[in-house]
């Protein structure tokens, strides 16, 4: 039953920004200045097949934004992947100065001889108001409990999340709406340790329709720091693909979080939440089966029609023309790919891509990173194609794949910034925006790190230094940001839907998300660009538990809103 609680509704003060329609969006590279330059290292594998395995596992460079110390600004956790290399926790000290506090926090570990760190996720699993940390691995995940004093305690063993998987993606969401955050892991390879490699047949059994990947693992939060594997019970065990990313959002506006899986070497999948702890796989009717190389899932309402859309990156390059997918939500549990019409089709060898209203004009733009491997002048593709076209070749056998050596494979690719022009068409402006770097991008963490109302992003790169971009767009629209605090619902309010009606009558929606997008977690803080609007007509929060609450927020400010504990009116 949906409950309504109405708080005083007051026209709100205007911010000071004035939107110049179509003005330049610009970013500044502040990596060195911010002190976050340390490079990522991909895992080095030993032996004859090491070269190929290293190529197949060249992810693992991720970044998670989250306020672990409750000082009001988003900090950064950045992963590394080679044996013995430590992950890094950067504390945001304000003014774009960050301090490496890894050692004191005790969260650097994970890259042991038999495990590879691949992703990370902030989430308050115990609802104590302090964000905990999940380190996702090719191995077993590590769960760190926030001790509220800048340190963390490894509680992995007691958590029950102890089954081996080659996990590369993670989201936290409350799929069963019991007020506790559950975890969905996306697994790439099947659950076999690549470092021990007992069998060479670990690679995709088909390069367009593979079904021998790791699928997903759904860990239900039981409370008391315990999780149980409910993948099969929830109806997600049929996902046997090479999952590269997992995303959540309420796609049918029924108040329940649904799931989108991006599959490499085969089809993506869509699951709708039945509201009873199970999901229904609607892939065939919702999006159809595809053969593309799904790399990323991000969720947002790009056309402001009140329905969450999905952006998936694939591979579009000289030798492969897959096109990304911008799934327009039709509002009937089906989606239509409008990437070509919207000009968001081509981001080359795609990895993470994130929605964000970077100029506060009410429209979600997209920043997409790309590039697999930038190395020597020789190109790996002709070599690879010789293998692929060999009659009767067994793709699963790692011994059959040619070594890459110092060859380049879809490297030195310019990043893509798709500016949303009108809710339908986008324009690629990466060079003008100053973000057309050619690093081997992987993950993205989007947040307003300096709390000036403009979203920036941290770009994690494979085997390279990251790039931290500060948003220095001179003229942006008005904005409002919301920190939602669940009381009945999960404390992080992940899954909360905010509907904002601007003074001029436009309706915008946002959801608090728990790690959407490949190898990166963006802020859980809700951000609305308001454009020229200086007032908010109404603001409604639909909490994950179902409560609907009206609230106020000041334009140009960050407002904290707690889920009311009042029963309210129905």
């Amino acid at each position: 039953m949906v409950r309504h609680v109405t708080l005083a509704l007051v026209p709100l003060l205007a911010g000071t920004f004035v939107l110049a329609q179509g003005g330049a969006i610009t970013f500044e590279d502040v990596t060195a200045k911010a002190g976050v330059k340390r490079q990522h290292h991909t895992r080095v594998f030993k032996g004859k097949t090491g070269d190929v395995l290293a190529m197949f596992t060249s992810g693992g460079s991720s970044a998670a934004a989250g306020d672990y110390d409750n000082d009001g600004d988003d900090d950064l956790f950045v992963t590394d992947s080679d044996e013995g290399k430590t992950n890094i926790l950067y504390r945001n000290d304000g003014g774009f100065r960050f301090t490496d506090v890894t050692a004191a926090a005790g969260v650097g570990g994970g890259n042991d001889p038999l495990s590879i760190v691949a992703d990370a996720l902030w989430f308050d699993y115990d609802n104590d108001g302090w964000r905990d940390l999940l380190v996702v691995r090719f191995g077993t995940p590590l769960l760190y409990q926030n001790q509220k004093d800048g340190t963390f305690k490894d509680v992995s063993a007691a958590s029950g999340m102890n089954s081996f998987a080659n996990s590369i993606a993670a989201i936290a969401f409350d799929y069963d709406r019991d007020g506790r955050l559950d975890v969905l892991l996306g697994n790439y390879f099947k659950p076999e340790n690549l470092i021990l490699l007992k069998s060479p047949n670990v690679l995709p059994n088909d390069l367009d329709k593979a079904v021998n990947g790791g699928g997903v693992t759904l860990w239900r939060n039981l409370g008391g720091g315990r999780f149980e594997d409910t993948t099969k019970k929830a109806g997600l065990a049929n996902a046997m693909g090479w999952t590269l990313d997992v995303g959540h959002g309420d796609f049918d506006n029924d108040g329940l979080p649904d799931v989108y899986l991006a599959g490499d070497y085969g089809t993506d999948r869509v699951y709708f939440n039945n509201g009873d702890g199970t999901f229904t796989d609607t892939t065939e009717t919702s999006i159809g089966f595809d053969t593309r190389k799904g790399m990323n899932v991000d969720v947002g309402d790009y056309n402001n029609d009140g329905w969450l859309d999905v952006y998936v990156t694939n591979i579009t390059d000289e030798y492969m023309k897959e096109c990304n997918m911008l799934w327009h939500n039709n509002g009937d549990r089906t989606f239509t790919d409008v990437s070509r019409e919207s000009a968001t089709c081509d981001s080359l060898w795609g990895w993470a891509a994130k929605f964000g209203d970077f100029d506060n004009d009410q429209l979600l733009d997209i920043f997409a990173v790309n590039g697999l491997r930038s190395a020597g002048p020789e190109n790996y593709i002709p070599v690879l194609v010789n293998m692929i076209t060999s009659p009767g070749i067994d793709f699963t056998d790692v011994n059959n794949w040619p070594a890459i050596g110092n060859m380049t494979w879809s490297g030195y690719q310019k990043k893509k910034f798709f500016r949303n022009l009108d809710g339908h068409a986008f324009k690629e402006i990466s060079a003008a925006a100053g973000v057309d770097n050619d690093k081997d991008g992987r993950g993205l963490a989007v947040a307003d790190f300096d709390q000036d109302g403009r979203l920036e992003f941290f770009q994690a790169n494979a085997n390279q230094e990251p790039i931290f971009y500060r948003n220095v767009t001179a003229t942006v629209g008005n904005w409002v940001q919301l920190d939602l605090v669940g009381t009945v619902s999960n404390r992080d309010a992940i899954g909360a839907r905010v509907t904002l009606k601007t003074g001029s009558g436009k309706t915008l929606i946002r959801e608090v998300e728990g790690g959407n997008g490949y190898a990166g977690q963006s802020t859980r803080r809700i951000h609305f660009g308001l454009g020229p609007d200086t007032t908010i007509e109404s603001l409604e929060i639909r909490w994950p538990g179902g409560l609907r609450q009206r609230a106020n927020a000041a334009v140009g400010k960050i407002t904290t809103i707690r889920e009311t504990e009042s029963k309210g009116s129905k």
Partner: protein
């Protein structure tokens, strides 16, 4: 030995039966592929032609149709499978040429090479085949289909960044076929426009018209 199944009420089976009897019949093979495409039963067609050429390895036109059968399936396949299918098609076109060189086989293989991105180094092979086809057609009475070689050969030179040669080929072709819209279009475009056009024309996700019907209606 290949045995066609009893035709019964299955029109495809009847066509297969006819092809088994005359494996080198280019037209019968073409009609069969058209029927396969309508039915969307590409794997059936591939399976049939595989057996047909195994039973009749010297049937050049069976190999040609086998290659076309791979091409017909390409738009229905994923991006990497497309590469495998395209390569299999080239293998069959090559076998056909080895058995019996012909204008259609040179044109077909040459045109197929143009679908490969330049990175694979096959564009020059395509140009060589198309030049061979051109040489053959210049020695034959003019036919409507010959315009395709002028178009494709110019496309090949353009892909190799030789705009002057491409324009020269298209211009010479237009002199032969003054009504050719394809040649006029290319000659009217600036390089960026030509590139955009060729990106569309040689898009592996779009169906290629592999019907050879014009061979029999063309005089």
């Amino acid at each position: 030995m290949l045995h066609a199944q009893g035709a019964g009420g299955d029109p495809l089976a009847a066509m297969e039966q006819a092809l088994v009897a005359k494996p080198d019949d280019l037209r019968a093979g073409n009609d069969y592929r058209v029927a396969i495409m309508k039915a969307g039963q590409y794997d059936r067609g591939l399976d049939f032609f595989e057996k047909l050429v195994a039973a009749h390895p010297a049937a050049a036109n069976a190999h040609l149709n086998y290659g076309f059968q791979y091409v017909d399936k390409i738009p229905a396949a994923g991006s990497i499978t497309q590469v495998i299918l395209a390569n299999n098609a080239l293998t069959q076109f090559t076998r056909s040429l080895e058995i019996r060189p012909s204008w259609i086989a040179y044109y077909t293989r040459g045109n197929s090479y143009l679908y490969w991105p330049r990175i694979f180094g096959r564009t020059t092979l395509g140009i060589a085949d198309l030049e061979a086809a051109l040489k053959i057609q210049k020695a034959e009475p003019k036919r409507g289909l010959h315009v395709r070689v002028w178009v494709a050969l110019g496309d090949g030179y353009f892909k190799m960044d030789d705009l002057a040669k491409a324009r020269a080929v298209w211009t010479e072709g237009l002199a032969q076929f003054p009504d050719s819209a394809a040649l006029k279009q290319r000659l009217a475009l600036q390089p960026d426009g030509i590139q955009a056009l060729l990106d569309t024309v040689y898009d592996p996700n779009k169906r290629v018209d592999t019907s050879l019907q014009d061979l029999w209606s063309d005089t």
